[in-house]
């Protein structure tokens, strides 16, 4: 306990001694975290909106006209057993006709003379699939089934949505890595200054027989403190920015849906604390380098 108090005291003294540099470190860390946070929130919301376009995960399969209900049910079962299929719905010729009537309520009289035998529609199966990037395989497999006349899979839209989501994820990862590297460099330099101003003390400690842990602890705590301060300030800043963004979107872009901040807050806090503590601890240890070598 006494050692922890000693280490805490020394780390507070270190920060006070390099007050301006500590402040600048926290400021840069906050800026980087807000960039990472904003980008991750935007990315989350784009995903959210893309996911709402459920049609992208749907394939329409039209069967041969002459097939009866039993044969259609058989093909439906065969499709349901394929890989990447989440669910299937068999729409009979009669149901299809009712849907068409429903789509054109003002012209329903046009369909009044069409009876079951004259029905020009075929059975249709609506397939909901799981993964966009495997949809071409599914499309191919369905087309090979005997009795299938036509397949509408909207592969182009699915592929575009898929690549957009992947692109956003990739940029997000790179952006996070880049900001983390910047944060780490800033913290490394701050702690280096602190270590440099106390290099004589560190030398004395080594001669007296202080362990690496004993010497490093105050500096690691200093790095952690910078990280925690940075994460908290960035979280509060992000909350303000997101509230302003929500206000703007609800006013001007009503068709866009956004998550409530409270839904994303836990994840954001974990990311902020994760990045900042990682940068703080690793930054401190890197800065100490040869100074703690025995």
């Amino acid at each position: 306990m006494r050692r922890l108090i000693d280490a805490l005291t020394q780390s507070v003294q270190g920060m006070a001694r390099n007050g301006l540099v500590t402040f600048v470190s926290i400021f840069v860390l906050v800026s980087c975290l807000i960039f990472v946070g904003s980008f991750s929130l935007i990315s989350k919301n784009i995903d959210y909106n893309l996911a709402s376009i459920t049609e992208l995960n749907e394939i329409e399969v039209f069967l041969e006209y002459e097939l009866d209900d039993a044969a259609a049910a058989e093909i439906n079962a065969e499709i349901a057993a394929l890989q990447n299929v989440a669910s299937t719905t068999l729409v009979s010729k009669e149901e299809g006709l009712e849907q068409v009537k429903g789509d054109f309520p003002d012209y329903s009289s046009l369909f009044d003379n069409i009876n079951a035998e004259d029905n020009p529609l075929s059975h249709k199966i609506i397939v909901i699939y799981e993964e966009n990037d495997k949809v071409s395989d599914l499309d191919f497999a369905i087309k090979r089934i005997e009795g299938v006349r036509k397949v509408n899979s909207r592969l182009d839209i699915a592929a575009s949505a898929n690549s957009l989501q992947k692109g956003i994820s990739l940029v997000f990862v790179w952006f996070t890595v880049l900001c983390s590297v910047v944060c780490m460099f800033v913290i490394i330099n701050t702690i280096k200054l602190s270590v440099y101003s106390r290099r004589e003390e560190i030398t004395i400690m080594r001669y007296i027989g202080a362990s690496r842990t004993y010497i490093a602890a105050p500096f690691v705590l200093e790095g952690m403190f910078i990280g925690i301060c940075g994460a908290l300030v960035a979280f509060l800043g992000e909350r303000l920015i997101y509230s302003a963004l929500m206000g703007f979107v609800s006013d001007k872009m009503g068709f866009v849906k956004l998550y409530a901040f409270s839904e994303l807050a836990p994840e954001l806090l974990i990311v902020f604390f994760g990045i900042s503590l990682f940068c703080g601890i690793i930054g401190s240890l890197v800065s100490l380098g040869k100074y703690v070598e025995v």
Partner: protein, 237 residues
Amino acid sequence: MIEFKNVTKRYPEGKVALDNLNLKIDDGEFVFIMGDSGAGKTTMTKLLLREERITEGELWIDGVNLGKMRASRVPKYRRRIGIVFQDFRLFKKKTVFENVAFALRVVGGVNSSELKNRVMSMLRIVGLEEKAQNFPAQLSGGEQQRVALARAIINNPHTIIADEPTGNLDPKLSMEIMSLLVKMNKFGKTVVVVTHEEELAKMFNQRIVRLKGGRLVGDERPEVRPEESTENGGDGQ
């Protein structure tokens, strides 16, 4: 016991600082290591502190081969060695008490009342009890060196290494410090004093080891002076 067995220290740039050195220092001995600049005195100190590693040979201290000691064991080893430097190396922003207490805290396992008692008794031994709350800048050179000495011995080391302990002091203060080292020796500590002050070393009737160009060139054992009393024997006064 300290034993250098065919020790050679060669630095990466090729300079040979110690060349096939053989030297044995028994427990409780008081030894002056003497030599000019470049003789290898500082390297010897660094090897004893395990700040540098030997290139060839073996260096044993109390049955431990320093050449094979793992880095993780070094801090514990150093707690058994008291070190005193020419430039004192005190924490400038800590008081005399805190400077000495720091060495005790590094080792740990001492509660605050025991810590206070041990630090104050150590300061009493070096005659600085009254200046416990002073900062190093408020002390004379001799007093600062006495603080360094108190810090070096507070963990009850078996060996004290003093690297030019009187280099920054006037003759009177030098005598004070040397007398304290002799006193520590009488408490059973092995004392190794690295110095280039021939006159000072000769005033004390102790073993003198001479180095030149990294080699051992002299090993003078103290003369037996039966007339010297136990109290002042060997302190040169």
